[in-house]
Amino acid sequence: MIANEEGLRRLMRLSLTGDKQAYAVLLEQAGKWLARYFRQKIAPDAVDDLVQDTLISLHRKRSSYDPARPFLPWLAAIARYRWIDRLRQTYRHEAQMLEDYDKAEDSHEEVVGARISIDRLLDLIPQSQAEVIRCVKIEGLSIDEASIRTGQSESLVKVNIHRGLKKLSTLVESE
């Protein structure tokens, strides 16, 4: 079953009233939605942690959801915030893992509107910044590897990552 906006919104409204059954279903469906949302936007081995972080934020900040508004844009804002937080943390992994990861499954654009996707967020910052963030923070390349691939100097790669992440954090709610 693929969760949709209408179903998730109904579950969230019930959850705000304390309906535990609805909440259990909501968390399960939101978790699946988030796993698709983050796919290929972070190292595969970090997806589960990021989904769990986001679900914990959903739980703690659920009163910030306005029942009069759509649910998925709210969840996407929280997910993007947690994603940027995670990108700030340094990690490395095998770039190969990304390429092998679950290519057969649907891309999340088929499930959620492109306007709230992470790709859309990356499109909002200068290409030189998005490029190095993808290389280093998502694919896990080293700074010098990213420098060779993009043609930017190593110091420029570092500067562009820093500026790009800073810019992203101001654009979380942009579409």
């Binding site: 959850s15 705000l16 009233t17 304390g18 535990k20 909440y23 259990a24 968390l27 399960e28 978790g31 589960d48 942690d49 769990q52 972080d53 679900l55 914990i56 934020s57 739980h59 703690r60 900040k61 659920r62 009163s63 910030s64 959801y65 306005d66 029942p67 508004r69 759509p70 844009p73 709210w74 996407a76 804002a77 929280i78 993007r80 915030y81 306007r115 709230i116 954090s169 101001t170 979380v172 709610e173 942009s174 579409e175």
Partner: protein
């Protein structure tokens, strides 16, 4: 699985919650501004022209612009407690642009040499700045509390907006006492008051609301 993550526990501890309402926070901010204005008037007195029911046009313009600045930025800051991708909230830019006309006009007037009032009343100018900032500090409290309960996705911007809004509203409250109508005086000291609050907001508020 991440340590400390337990889906069943999250479900088990679910309690009904009331969604955050921006209107509640707006009323709280309004109450603090009213309280600050009352304390200013009681302790330092109200402007004579306002007391006589014949306010100077500059008083009205200044008060209106400060309310616009504080209201526009305050609304934007409080809205940030409930995030949503695609939410349009750019009205604060217009409010800041409108309020920026005063220091801009003051700069032009000052360049023509009309700086006597502003320079001769620096002590009062400092009073303006300090009391406006104190009023702003009080106004910022309900705003920060709302942001702490919510989920602002850009704590830095929320900090700037909280600072500008509280500075504008604090200056509005002090403006009920401030007898000066000189544009250079207002452009200098009121801008400083809002600027100090904005910087303080940027430096302090993000630490209090990060989640």
């Amino acid at each position: 699985m991440k340590q400390g993550f337990d889906l069943d526990a999250m479900v088990a501890e679910l309690e009904p919650v009331k969604p955050l309402r921006i209107t509640h926070a707006i009323w709280a901010v309004f109450a603090v501004v009213a309280l600050a204005a009352t304390l200013i008037v009681l302790s330092k007195g109200m402007r004579p022209d306002v007391m006589l029911g014949d306010p100077d046009p500059m008083f009205l313009l200044r008060g209106g612009l400060l309310l616009l600045l504080g209201g526009g930025c305050g609304w934007a800051a409080l809205s940030m407690a409930s995030p949503s991708v695609g939410k349009q909230g750019q009205s604060w830019k217009m409010a800041i642009a409108a309020a920026a006309l005063v220091p801009f006009a003051a700069l032009i007037v000052a360049m023509t040499g009309h700086v006597d009032v502003a320079m001769a009343n620096m002590r009062f100018g400092l009073d303006c700045m300090v009391f406006s900032a104190l009023g702003g500090l009080a106004t910022a409290v309900p705003m920060v509390l709302q942001l702490r309960r919510g989920a602002p996705t850009s704590p830095e911007r929320a900090g700037w907006l909280t600072g500008v809004a509280s500075g504008g509203l604090g200056a509005f409250a002090y403006g009920l006492h401030c007898p000066f109508n000189d544009v250079v005086y207002i452009g200098l000291w009121y801008s400083l008051a809002v600027g100090v609050c904005a910087v303080a907001g940027r430096l302090v508020v993000p630490r209090l609301i990060r989640w």
